[in-house]
Each structure stands twice: as C-alpha cells, then as structure tokens.
C-alpha cells in the first residue's frame, strides 16, 4: 500500500491512528479529578508534540542514517519561523504560503551550511554546525534586528502590509493565522460525561504534516537512497572505494533534514505567530539530539516517541510541586512521608532536567538503540519461544 511494505504500512496506520485520536488518548482522566493534571490533551501541548516530532524525524534522517551528529539543527527551525512570520507580515495570514516559504528558506540555508560543514566529518562536523548555529543566533540577536526583531523577537503589528489580506480586522485587532478561513486557534470541545476533549484546528494541520513527514521518512529509509546513507555510516571509505561519492548523498540528507526543521519552524509560527532568536540557540539543538537518541536513533518511530516524551516531561512532569507530592504520600506515617517526599522531590517538578539527564545517560550507556530497542528487548522476553532472537533494527551508533 502506498509503496510501503506490509509492516511499514501497519506502522504508518498506527501513527495515523494515534495522532488522529490523540485528543482522546492524551486525556484519560476526567476533568477536575486529582489526576487531571496528567492530561496532556490540550491544544498547545499537542501541537508541540507533533511539531517537535517533525523536527526529530528530520534530524533522524541525518543522524540516524548517515551518523553525522549536527549540533546546530535549531538554526533551521529558527530560520523557518522567521520566514513564516515574515510571510504573515507581508503576504497574508494564510498558513500555507508561510509554511511553504519556511521550508524553502530553511532548505536553502541548510544547503549553504551543509555544503561548508560537510567538508569535514566526525567531531569537526559537529563543531562546524555548532559554530554556524551560534553565529546565526548571535547575529539574529544583535545585528539582524531589523529582520529578526532582536531580543523581543519578530512579532506581527497592526501596520503590516499583508498584501493579500487585511492589515487589521474590523475590530482593530491583528488577524490570526488561518488556513483559508479556518483559524488555527479554533477548537471544538466535546464533553462526554466528566471528560472534556478538545479538537484543535492547528493541531490537526500539524498532525497532517507530521503524518506526511513520517510517510516520507519511511520511504527514504526504505529507498536505495536510504541504503546509500546507511552505507556512509557503516563505512565511508569502502563506499568511496566502490566508486561512489558520499558528499552528494550526505548533503541531500542534510538539506532534507534542514527542510524538516524548517517545516517544524513554520508550523510553530503558524500556531503562534512570533519568532525569537532563542529558538536557534545551541541548547535547542541539544534538545533535538536528546529526543532522537532517547527515542532511538536510526529507528522510524523512535524520534517521535522521544519528542513526545521530552515535551510531556517538560510540560506535565515539571508542574508537580511539593504539595502535590505530600498529597500522594499522605497515607504514609508523617516521618516516612517527609522522607519519601524529600527523596523524590529533587527528581521531579522543577528538577525534571535531572531526571532527563539521568535517563538519557542510562539510555546511551545501556540502550544505544533508545527506547525502541528497550521495548523490543522487553517484547523479546515475552516471545522467548521463537527461535530467532529479536534483532534491534537500530544500526550501530554513529561515528
């Protein structure tokens, strides 16, 4: 189906199902209940899940397949955001041209950076991409202020031209991003008993793009082109001995993943029409590295899982404070309760980064294939009768 093998098609269907029913799946607890704070089914967070999913899928095409570790990918996301916001300012509030332009601009930008950075490999490549991204960040923050808005970021204003749209609505407000009249922030709320489900237009647009990106990623992974990229990772020298030039393939992979990042940036700006330089900082690039490795570099579904997990931790896990913890352990005797809370508290709430760091280290040390490999190992325990051991489809970690 759709040029996919049966197994891949099933994976695609699962992803489609999960994203389409995400408003239900992420809201398992009734409104107003004690557990409602673990509900992740609100539009803002769901949008972030899929947008960072796209970002991580794109990063994985570069890192997971070719093994080139880029520490500057956030620059493309930032450039995409700026391009989209400029489209909103100059053309119209329709998100489609904005997203298309952000993909194109990010693609061109990554073509330039990739062309230069890919002259070196290994750690030098990482440092070069890092240097380019930090330069873009520093310039966007200072000199390029007329284009980027500098410290305050790029925002819409009432006197923007918007050739094909209106500068301001009849009520004198800045118009909101929309897809042919369908406002991105509009939602339909469904109340079922004690449960409240929100279906947001912006989320479904982003989810559509994520499914599209995911499908493309599967096709790339299974194509001869994908095979070439894997060859670069496993042995670039041997590849060049067989008469193949690795450079065009790595550059293509770099540009594709840059375009994915641009798409994510454009979508981000479509959901909330502003763009800031901090999206380009190297910590943001580090985050997508964390997502991809955590989920499983080189696997199809891994990066999406990693992105979802980190964003869930960042937004839900971090909200747990000491009072809530005391509430949970209230059944324990007082002294023990305080002890348990004191023991757990550093790891959750504001300290979620600590948990993230520890989990990340454990994954790198014990599960180079990420959570996906972990899942496969667990599955393997249950399926012991089968003679052939489950083989992690994560390839060897990159050089």
């Amino acid at each position: 189906m759709l040029g996919l093998e049966k197994k891949d098609f099933r994976l695609l269907l699962i992803v489609i199902g999960l994203t389409m029913f995400a408003p239900f799946i992420l809201n398992p607890f009734p409104e107003g209940s004690e557990m409602a704070q673990f509900n992740a089914g609100y539009p803002d967070l769901m949008q972030r899940f899929v947008i960072f999913g796209i970002f991580a899928i794109g990063f994985n095409i570069l890192f997971g397949l070719t093994g080139y570790l880029s520490f500057g990918h956030a620059a493309f996301l930032g450039v995409g955001s700026y391009a989209a916001v400029w489209m909103f300012k100059l053309l119209s509030m329709n998100v489609l041209p904005a997203i298309i332009l952000s993909v194109i601009i990010a693609g061109l930008f990554s073509l330039i950076i990739g062309f230069i950075s890919l002259r070196r490999s290994g750690i030098y490549f990482s440092i070069l991409t890092l240097a380019f991204a930090q330069m873009s960040f520093a310039l966007a923050y200072s000199v390029l202020t007329p284009i980027t808005g500098g410290e305050t970021g790029l925002q819409l204003a009432l006197d923007d031209p918007r050739i094909l749209g209106v500068s301001q609505t009849e009520s004198g407000n800045i118009p909101v991003p929309a897809l042919f009249g369908l406002e991105m922030r509009s939602s339909y709320e469904l109340e079922l008993g004690a449960w409240l489900f929100t279906f947001n237009a912006g989320y479904y647009l982003a989810a559509f793009f994520m499914i599209l990106s995911f499908y493309l990623a599967i096709r790339i992974f299974r194509s001869p082109f994908g095979m070439m990229l894997r060859a670069i990772k496993s042995n670039q020298t041997r590849m060049s001995y067989t008469g193949l030039n690795a450079k065009p393939y790595t550059l293509a992979a770099f540009v594709i993943s840059g375009m994915y990042a641009g798409l994510a940036g454009g979508l981000m700006a479509s959901m909330d029409p502003l763009a800031g330089a901090e999206r380009m900082q190297w910590t943001a690039s580090g985050e997508v590295v964390l997502m991809t490795i955590l989920g499983g570099a080189g696997t199809l579904i891994g990066p999406v899982l990693g992105a979802g997990m980190i964003k869930y931790f960042e937004n839900i896990f971090s909200k747990i404070n000491e009072t809530i913890l005391h509430g949970w352990f209230a059944f324990l005797p007082d002294g023990l309760e305080n002890f348990v809370v004191a023991l757990i508290y550093p790891f959750i709430g504001k300290g979620w980064h600590l948990t993230l760091g520890i989990v990340f280290m454990l994954v790198v040390i014990f599960l180079p294939g990420g959570l996906v490999q972990g899942g496969q190992k667990i599955m393997g325990l249950f399926r012991r009768k089968k003679p052939e051991p489950t083989k992690p489809n994560a390839t060897e970690p990159a050089e």
Partner: protein, 343 residues
C-alpha cells in the same frame, strides 16, 4: 597604542580561562581519546568549590552581645563565625577574606577525586565506543551535574568576592608611560592571568621533565607499545584525567570573582572551549593554549567600538568565524598532530 594594549590585556583573562579549559580537554583527548562534553561542568564545579568554601568559612553561631541592644531593647544577638572562635577575630577575618585563594587548596583534592570517579565509573566503559557516544554520554553527565548544582545552590549567580587586597585596578598607563587612567586593569584579572600561566607551565613541566610525564607522553604517541613494555598505562591515564579535572576546577575557582558562578557557566564556556581546541588542533597541548589566548584576544579586539562600527556584530561571531575559516583551510587546526581524529 593605549587602546591596543588595553584590548590585549582584556583578552588575556578570558583567554586564560579558555586556555585552561582547552588544556584539560586536550589532555583528556590526547591520553584517553575521549571527547569530554562534561569538562565545562568541571569548571563550574571548581567555581562552586569556592562558593562552598566561603559559605563554610562564614558558618556562624549566635552570641548575645551585652553591650548592644536591638530596637526592642533586648540584648542584641550577633552572628559570630566559628573561625573567629578558633583563630581570633583578625586572623578569622583574614581567612574569610581569602576564601577564594584558599579554595584552591581544597579544590585540588576534590577535583582530582571527582576526575578519578568520572573516569573509573563512567568514561572507562566508553573507550571502545564511537566518539558520538562519548559526546552524548558526557553531555548527559554535564546536564546531571548542572542540575545537581542548581538544586543545591539555586539558579541565580552567587557573587564571590576576591580578597580585599586585590580589589581595585592597576594603572598600566603610568607603568608604560601613557596618561594615567588610560589603561586600567583589575588586579584580580592580572592575578588570574599569572595563575593560568603558572598552571599551564606546571602541567607542561610535569609532562616534560618527570618520568611519569615521559611515560604519559610515550603513551599518547603509542599506547600499545608502552603497554607491551609492561607499564600500566591505563592507571597513568586515569591520573592524567584527574589532573585535567583539577586544571578545569582551578580555572573555575579563580574565575569565581570575575563572574559570579551560576549553574550553567560551564556550558557557556564549554562550547567556546571546544571551538578553541579544534582551532588549536585536536590533541595538541601547545595548540590549545595558543588558540585559547589567541581567540580571547581576538574577541576583545573585535569589541572595540570602531571595529563594531565597521563590521556590525563582529564581536559576537568572531570566534566562530575564525573557527570556520581555520577548519576549512587548515583541517588539522593550528598545531594539530597527524592522524588524530582523522577518519
């Protein structure tokens, strides 16, 4: 001319910090072949050793002072640091004042032990893994160390003053025959520069003139042969890791008065230090030191207003720009050795 000297001086203290961190990074890379992303965290830990020591020294207990009364008319309670009880008021105050230099003595054993623990506990298992894995696991370790420090010390910078004797500035203008106040330079930064020179000199002397250093250098050149000769090279490399950690920690201790330590100062320095190492040439110790000072001075030259007028934003990007140009034209960096990190 006075501008010129001033900018060189300004570049020296930052350059010293870059050089010290880059030196440690290169030591680890040259001996163990590990790319250590947690090195910035070691620098930050050093700065927090200084913070902790000055906190510990000012630990105090309350004493009722009969001669004074508070606003309610009760006898006033005064905080008396324990060091006053032990050493007397004058000596106690001096000890508190000199907390940062004293922290050097404390930092050396602490940082060496942390270095040992890191190498034996974690990095040892990553020698055979690809460089990307080493980068990732030490990156994770850096996050963990940062967050632990943040948990105990909070997210705000903690001011840690230098001893009173070094407060104020030295007037270079007078010394060089320019107008007074033309070139003034804080004493502590001068101290930092000479401290860095001393440390760098000590490390080089240690490697060059001791038997231990000779074995380590031999191990860097050809690890296998040294092993065949019956020398336990791994143990010596572990000690070198401890020394590299101590160098980073000392750089951090002395940097505490220059910029108040906060939990992410290590990361800020790490990114630049990596650029420094790559510019200097992976695995070359003199290269790392030279590139550290060079980039520090270039950075301060780029922040002269006249230069910024000419090339806006150059002060923000100069280091990265230099790194890109050097990497593309001299792939091994300024003094890189052949065969190091070349695939």
């Amino acid at each position: 001319m006075d501008q010129f000297i001033l900018q060189i001086l300004n570049g020296l203290d930052k350059g010293s910090a870059y050089a010290l961190i880059a030196l440690g990074l290169t030591l680890i890379f040259g001996t163990l072949g590990v790319v250590n992303f947690a090195h910035g965290a070691l620098f930050m830990l050093g700065a927090f050793v200084a913070v902790t020591l000055s906190n510990v020294l000012t630990l105090s207990h309350k004493v009722v002072d009969e001669t004074r009364t508070d606003f309610l008319g009760n006898p006033m309670q005064v905080d008396v640091p324990y060091v006053h009880d032990w050493f007397g008021v004058t000596a106690g105050n001096a000890i508190i004042d000199w907390a940062v230099p004293l922290a050097i003595l404390v930092a050396i054993p602490i940082m060496v032990l942390i270095g040992f623990a890191m190498e034996r506990g974690l990095i040892k298992h990553f020698y055979k893994r690809p460089h990307a894995d080493q980068i990732l696991v030490t990156f994770g370790l850096a996050i963990v160390i940062q967050e632990i420090v943040k948990y105990f010390y909070g997210a705000n910078p903690i001011p840690t003053p230098a001893p009173d004797a070094f407060v104020g500035s030295f007037d270079f203008g007078v010394a060089f025959g320019f107008d007074p106040n033309a070139i003034i330079y804080p004493y502590w930064r001068l101290v930092y520069f000479f401290f860095a020179i001393t440390i760098i000199g000590a490390v080089f002397a240690f490697l060059q003139f001791t038997t231990f250093g000779m074995v380590v250098r031999a191990g860097m050149a050809d690890r296998e042969t040294v092993g065949i000769l019956g020398i336990d090279i791994d143990r010596r490399f572990t000690i070198m890791f401890g020394i590299a950690a101590a160098v980073a920690g000392l750089a951090g201790v002395m940097y505490a008065p220059i910029s108040s330590p906060n939990y992410h100062m290590g990361m800020d320095f790490l990114v630049l230090s990596f650029v420094v190492v790559v510019v200097g040439g992976m695995g070359s110790l003199p290269g790392a030191v030279a590139a550290g000072f060079l980039l520090g001075i270039l950075e301060s030259f780029a922040s002269i207003p006249a230069v910024i007028d000419l090339l806006p934003g150059i002060n923000q990007v100069i280091i990265y720009l230099v790194a890109i140009i050097i990497l593309l034209t001299r792939p091994r960096g300024l003094m890189g050795r052949k065969g190091v990190m070349e695939e």
